[in-house]
Point group: C2
């Protein structure tokens, strides 16, 4: 179906959204995705990731017309020159972006028009862990706090339901909260 003005809520075409869900119900094999990133060290804490291709709907997706390029770095206190956000900050961004997108899509599906979604994230870390100085501290954040401010045309109770449902469906929230098996291999020749 073509989009109609009425089917687009929060910038999401709910007709297309339900069409996608129906297509997957008809052929679940199209739901298998693979996302990728290629990273290259530049110097010191400066490294760069290139993102473009991915696999979806039983084929390589070629719809993206250019690469996304992301630079990482560290601030001076962590021996860098601020060539980009640091990796832990990128993780906070990934979490914020995923919760927000989930929230916006859930709201669109439920007929809620949003006017504002903002969030602030904080992650606490004692760097004695990552620096190898003490086993009393983990390497990563001990805790992450996410504070949302959400406004829209629905009653508070429904907005809270949307926030709760977004957490239940967010890919990055699942990964950050529950962890993911990671395999690392290296070629050194």
């Amino acid at each position: 179906m073509a989009a109609t003005a009425d089917s687009v809520r929060n910038g999401v075409d709910s007709t297309q959204l339900y069409g996608t869900l129906d297509a997957i119900k008809g052929d679940p094999s199209i739901a298998k995705f693979q996302f990728r990133a290629q990273n290259r060290w530049i110097d010191g804490s400066h490294n760069r990731t290139t993102i473009r291709d991915f696999y979806a709907a039983n084929q390589e997706d070629t719809s993206r017309i250019e690469d996304f390029v992301l630079d990482a770095g560290e601030p001076a206190i962590l021996l860098g020159t601020d060539t980009g956000p640091n990796p832990a900050e990128y993780l906070l961004h990934a979490l914020a972006a995923c919760l927000t997108t989930s929230l916006v899509y859930v709201a669109a599906a439920r007929g809620v028009h949003l006017t504002e979604v903002e969030s602030t994230l904080e992650g606490d870390m004692d760097v004695q862990g990552a620096l190898g100085l003490s086993d009393d501290f983990r390497n990563g954040f001990e805790h992450i706090r996410v504070s949302f401010r959400v406004k829209g045309d629905a009653p508070e109770e429904k907005l809270r339901e949307v926030v709760a449902r977004a957490q239940q469906r967010s890919a990055v929230f699942d990964m950050v909260r529950n962890g993911v098996p990671v395999t690392v291999e290296a070629a050194t020749a």
Copy 2:
């Protein structure tokens, strides 16, 4: 101590690195960091994170002279317009960047001169989970594979040790593999 040509390896000043470690040993309170991200929804799957301030060494760090701004999005097949990498891709980037930085710092501390560090990451996801179509699939990646290519002036065995140690010390690797407690609160008024 001032940096000397000899103390800088892989763009990391190992004199400064050991100075930081000594300073933390002398006063562990300076090891408490807090990183932050502020996100704002733009439209549809497009949202934007601003990163700048953080807390470290018992004070607000004000050394960064400008904000980092990161745009997220989704490809067409996930109802977006490619306004940026998607959140799960940002998570892969965070993981690649952190493993690479850890690897470079460990190599610097151990006197290994690196000439090349590249990595490719792949994450497999069945979107029936995140789309709420099936409880048989989690929302996030089922598995992440990281493939490194590392070259330097050390024997293969020592390079492999550096890769292994980088995993033991990486903040984002710890978080992605083991998970982090996340608290989400929302103001809807």
